[in-house]
Point group: C2
Chain length 355, copies 2
């Protein structure tokens, strides 16, 4: 393995918290602490409603008085660079929103695509990104049914930003959201953590490996349907994107008002990802995946759920990583040494524009 | 009336077309010629599907095998400046997407809000924009049910960009899209044209008027329901936003493969808007409105439709402006002098970032 390392501009997650000013900072985009505070202090007080209050990856609501339940989600992608090993901003934007629908237990009905293009973007780049979106959508059997394109002046964007929104239908009987999580639930992950974050960082920081580092970006709908078939009683699903597994566990534990205990030795992390984390002083627990999910299932279903995940191509390396516990919301890691430590959210943003 | 005029940076729509290069130019965001070509040459070949092929303001599709019909639309707002007389980027983003749903004949079910914040944006500005979104959504009786926030580095955005997407339900029996337009249809507009464009320009170009110039930004759902009650046979609706009435007529005529003839003397344009257009060499036909709609109705329903529009607060100055004609797609203006001229789309973009 050869490495070429440039850590300039990389903040260390153990650095002191940036001063909270009266202005937006990069920390507000980190997906963890400051992002949550921004939502709680500015957005929630204004937007407050029961559907948004569920604090899930997407909204679920009835389509009409006697209607089916719809899922609705949106995400904007500002990843830098826009092309990286294993994907690009286009496929990522399709996978990201489709996965948010899947995390609501929904089958997708349609996607939107809204582009912000910076003056000067090569048309050839746009063509590649759009083709990548089309391919990712087709692979999931979903059409991009509506869209919008805006252009901003040079220096007011960064090549291309992509927003996708998605609408899906939630089959009868499926209710998956943080409020369903119970003490005793087993916590599973569908595969190794942090590949996406490591892939983007490796390009951005100019680190070259002989070993493969590629984003895990993938559509999870097929895997999720497979899991629902095995375990209809699934309590909650979440994809550990921006903020990684650490942010997911804090969010779900906080929303469910329960403690979460995970086993460090059970966490699946690929060796090259572990190495890049050591080089850059990052914790793989906070590194983004874009083709993995975390599942909360009743203890009695844990083995069946794990078997179902492992029998699917995208879940071959699934693992049980912990258990939900009674008690106040907190995330506890049982270390390899047998001790227990509290997992705190990083205060700053070690990884701006990871998705 | 006092004016303070600075036209620096304002391109004239009668200037020669910019050279089409292999890069994105501001013209690609103009909402007319180059925007359409971008869609037809890059997006459509990849995304091609029947729903998108309808080329309406939003997509309409069934929610399931036996499902109700859903409408789904998205728009990103990059207006500069973000606050202007009569509105701001927040209320505009809510009105814009809700109006796209209304143009599909849909009643809104929920909105999403995805923000791109530039590092350094004052939190107080964000608070005002978010409050404005909440107020606009509440006035329409719709909740913002899901969302996303991204932060980009200073110099990679411009304060705040707002994407909204919306989901709505289309009541049984309503089918409104360009394909339903027929030769002989009357063309109505719900009110004066171009107020939004004039308001944004007046701030941007530093033009001050004693006369009121304010954006017409408004939610059209109530007006549209009122119109459907009077004229269930309504053929098509469209809001003349970016690109103005001129772009709408070209799009609808092109999609319906019909000619459109409008009467210059019938076009409602407020006096201050007319003056600002004369000062800047702009045609009010291509100036954006954000609270008006264009309705295509069967000739036999024209009087009833006009009366219905005029009996609603937002349609008090509605007017019949023309008629759909057989023949190849083209837009013809009957001038005040009694002559007939072809209305061509401006080649460049006189008004970047108007919405």
């Amino acid at each position: 393995m050869t490495t070429k390392l440039d850590v300039q501009g990389l903040a260390n997650p153990s650095c002191p918290a940036p001063t909270e000013t009266d202005r937006i900072t990069l920390s507000h985009g980190a997906g963890a602490g400051a992002t949550s505070r921004l939502f709680e202090t500015i957005l929630w007080p204004q937007f407050r409603n029961d559907t948004l209050g569920v604090r899930h990856d997407g909204a679920v609501f009835p389509a009409g008085p006697a209607g089916e339940r719809l899922a609705f989600s949106t995400d904007t992608f500002v990843v830098h660079p826009i092309e990286f090993p294993g994907g690009d901003i286009g496929s990522l934007a399709v996978h990201g929103t489709l996965n948010d629908l899947a995390m609501c237990g929904a089958e997708p009905l349609g996607l939107s695509c809204a582009l912000i293009l910076e003056e000067g973007l090569p048309l050839a780049t746009l063509e590649r990104i759009v083709a990548s979106m089309a391919q990712a959508a087709a692979a999931a059997g979903v059409a991009i049914v509506t869209g919008d394109t805006k252009v901003v002046e040079r220096g007011k964007g960064d090549g291309i930003y992509v927003n996708t929104a998605g609408v899906g239908r939630v089959p009868d009987g499926r209710v998956v959201h943080p409020g369903r999580v119970r003490a005793g639930d087993a916590i599973l992950v569908s595969g190794p953590l942090g590949d996406h974050g490591a892939a983007v960082l490796s390009v951005r920081e100019g680190i070259e490996f002989d070993a493969d580092i590629a984003s895990d970006s993938a559509w999870l709908g097929g895997l999720v349907e497979h899991l629902f078939n095995a375990v209809p009683e699934l309590h909650c699903l979440r994809d550990p994107t921006r903020g990684g597994l650490g942010a997911v566990l804090h969010e779900i534990g906080g929303a469910a008002q329960l403690a979460i205990e995970i086993d460090e030795s059970a966490l699946p992390v690929r060796e090259p990802v572990r190495v890049i984390c050591e080089l850059l002083g990052l914790d793989p627990l906070f590194l983004a995946s874009e083709g993995r999910c975390v599942a909360f299932v009743p203890e009695r279903d844990a083995e069946r759920a794990l078997a179902a995940l492992r029998s699917h191509a995208l879940g071959a390396h699934a693992a049980r990583i912990g258990t939900v516990q009674p008690g106040p919301p907190r995330v506890v890691v049982r270390t390899r040494a047998g001790t227990r430590r509290l997992l705190l959210l990083p205060a700053g943003d070690p990884l701006p524009r990871i998705c």
